[in-house]
């Protein structure tokens, strides 16, 4: 849980690794009612859409980014704004690392920079969040 008085730009948030599986992608796409075949039909994905393998949903990675902030905040604050850009595709089988760091502090509001990094070390999905820390946090 972040303490406002101790926070400074550059402070890292805890990282978390995600290894999607066919089962987890199936459940996610069922939950958001998305039947796009690039998330479960490997021959179609490679032969027709020319991706190297089954694609991990962009918004699922967006959700993982939001969790970096939410799990760091616990109950000490509130997420006001959140954004991300899917810069490059991630392929099923890749272990992705979600993390971030404090970018700026303005009163009780904190800007956090976020990233999803693939095994090659590339940032596939950068993001940013604005959080409101509770008084006294």
């Amino acid at each position: 849980m972040p303490k406002l008085s101790e926070l400074k730009p550059g402070d890292a948030l805890p990282e978390r690794q995600h290894l999607a599986t066919n089962v987890s992608l199936f459940l996610y796409n069922a939950a958001v009612w998305n039947a796009h075949r690039i998330h479960y039909d490997e021959p179609y994905t490679t032969d027709v859409e020319n991706h190297p393998g089954v694609i991990i949903d962009g918004p699922l990675q967006g959700d993982w980014l939001s969790q970096v902030v939410l799990d760091w905040l616990e109950d000490s604050g509130q997420l006001l704004e959140f954004e991300y850009t899917n810069r490059r595709a991630s392929i099923l089988g890749e272990t992705l690392t979600a993390g971030g760091s404090v970018k700026a502090i303005d009163g009780t509001q904190v800007v956090v920079e976020l990233f999803i990094r693939n095994e090659a070390g590339d940032i596939t999905t950068p993001g940013q969040a604005l959080v409101q820390l509770a008084d006294g946090a």
Binding site: L27, A31, A35, E83
Partner: protein, 156 residues
């Protein structure tokens, strides 16, 4: 820049879609749906896993109508009614910006309205890309603002 990239892929007919909205979607939020989403996204917060409150990205996809299987495209996606006929057909996720005004809880009835705010072309690393930008506004039935979102979709 190659010859293909120099082509303007966006006709006046396509650009005329900027400003259009589709029929608002009415959504009843259930605890079970929140729990399903929270499990699928591997949430750690018990508030989400119990379904007491929805995670911020819970509404992804909820702006679209539920379409019968015969009406889905060959790629599995629905034939989006709020989308001009584009010369590039393959779809990729772009990005999202959300601003939260009120938590989403089981029993909420939400009204989701989607409007095209921009359509533009950009040169990707190997091919031209078309970006379609949607403004998504989520309110309760009495008009209280719940969330505002800007979402981009990429056709390649």
């Amino acid at each position: 820049m190659n010859a293909e990239a120099a082509d303007n892929l966006l006709s006046d007919d396509v650009r005329a879609w900027i400003g259009r909205s589709d029929e608002p979607v009415r959504m009843e939020v259930s605890r079970r749906d929140i729990v399903k989403y929270s499990i699928a996204t591997e949430q750690r917060n018990p508030r989400y896993l119990r379904g007491d409150e929805a995670p911020p990205m819970f509404l992804f996809g909820a702006d679209k109508p539920l379409t019968p299987i015969p009406q889905l495209r060959a790629d599995g996606l629905l034939e989006d009614q709020l989308l001009p006929d584009l010369p590039l057909k393959r779809v990729m996720a772009g990005g999202i910006k959300q601003r939260y005004h009120r938590p989403i809880k089981p029993g909420d009835v939400l009204i989701i309205t989607r409007t095209i705010t921009d359509i533009f072309q950009k040169q990707g690393s190997s091919r031209p890309l078309i970006f379609i930008v949607y403004d998504i506004r989520v309110t309760t039935e009495d008009g209280t603002l719940v969330m505002q979102e800007t979402q981009s979709r990429i056709n390649r």
